[in-house]
């Protein structure tokens, strides 16, 4: 079946611009996670949804980061007033009890 998909795959933003990153999880997966991966590092947790409820947002680095999953399926990660330190790969994962499965990521470059 189809895996986790993310769009866009690449995004170049000027500093101060707002961006929106989309995640389509595996159909039927209740849990959805966002992670941030800096170059050469492992992914770091940002936020977690169970259906439409955002149960954990402890990893969001600032109030410029906002995530939503209004209908319990597709999720959007929004970054307002982007800064150069926001440049990273943003990974989405969905899960069942059998494992946590990642999408290809969105590579964000802030100039």
């Amino acid at each position: 079946g189809a895996g986790v998909s993310q769009s866009p795959r690449y995004k170049v933003a000027k500093r101060g611009q707002d961006v929106a990153l989309r995640c389509d999880p595996i159909s039927g997966h209740v849990s959805l996670f966002w992670y941030q991966q800096a170059l050469g590092q492992g992914p770091e947790f940002l936020t977690y949804f169970q259906n439409e409820a955002q149960l954990d947002k402890s990893g969001l680095p600032s109030d410029r980061f906002f995530a939503e999953r209004p209908e319990g399926s597709v999720s959007t990660l929004k970054i307002q007033r982007t800064q150069q330190e926001d440049s990273a790969v943003y990974l989405c994962a969905s899960s069942t009890t059998s494992g946590q499965y990642f999408g290809p990521g969105t590579r964000l470059l802030v100039l």
Binding site: T96, Q100, F102, P104, G105
Partner: protein, 113 residues
């Protein structure tokens, strides 16, 4: 603090040999561990997982070993192939696949033909 780390940044092996990738974790409360493979430009790919009530689990050409006494996790890849070349991450959490993961920094596996 709590961390998941890897001993070596790179590992080079001959095609056909067995590979062993090691990982240390410091959170003794962790009860679920996963190995991921990440190829350039792709997201982490699930390889195999293990729960803390087990010390060994086998998959296709891969085996994960868990030593809770010394808080050590390893991934063994049998008959390593060029397609195994990638960055490998161990990850851990408390609560299974539906809980946030803490990742190590990753180790690069390079397979020599």
């Amino acid at each position: 603090g709590e961390s998941v780390g890897l001993h070596l940044p790179t590992l080079s092996v001959q095609e056909g040999d067995n590979s062993i990738i090691n990982c240390a974790y410091s959170n003794s409360a962790s009860d679920y561990f996963i190995w991921y493979k990440q190829e350039s430009g792709k997201g982490p790919q699930f390889i195999i997982d293990i729960r803390s009530n087990m010390d060994k689990r086998q998959g296709q050409r891969v085996t994960v070993l868990l030593n809770k006494t010394v808080k050590h996790l390893s991934l063994q890849i049998a008959a390593t192939q060029p397609g195994d070349s990638a960055v490998y991450f161990c990850a851990e959490n408390m609560g299974g696949a539906n809980s946030k993961l803490t990742f190590g920094k990753g180790i690069t596996l390079s397979v020599r033909p």
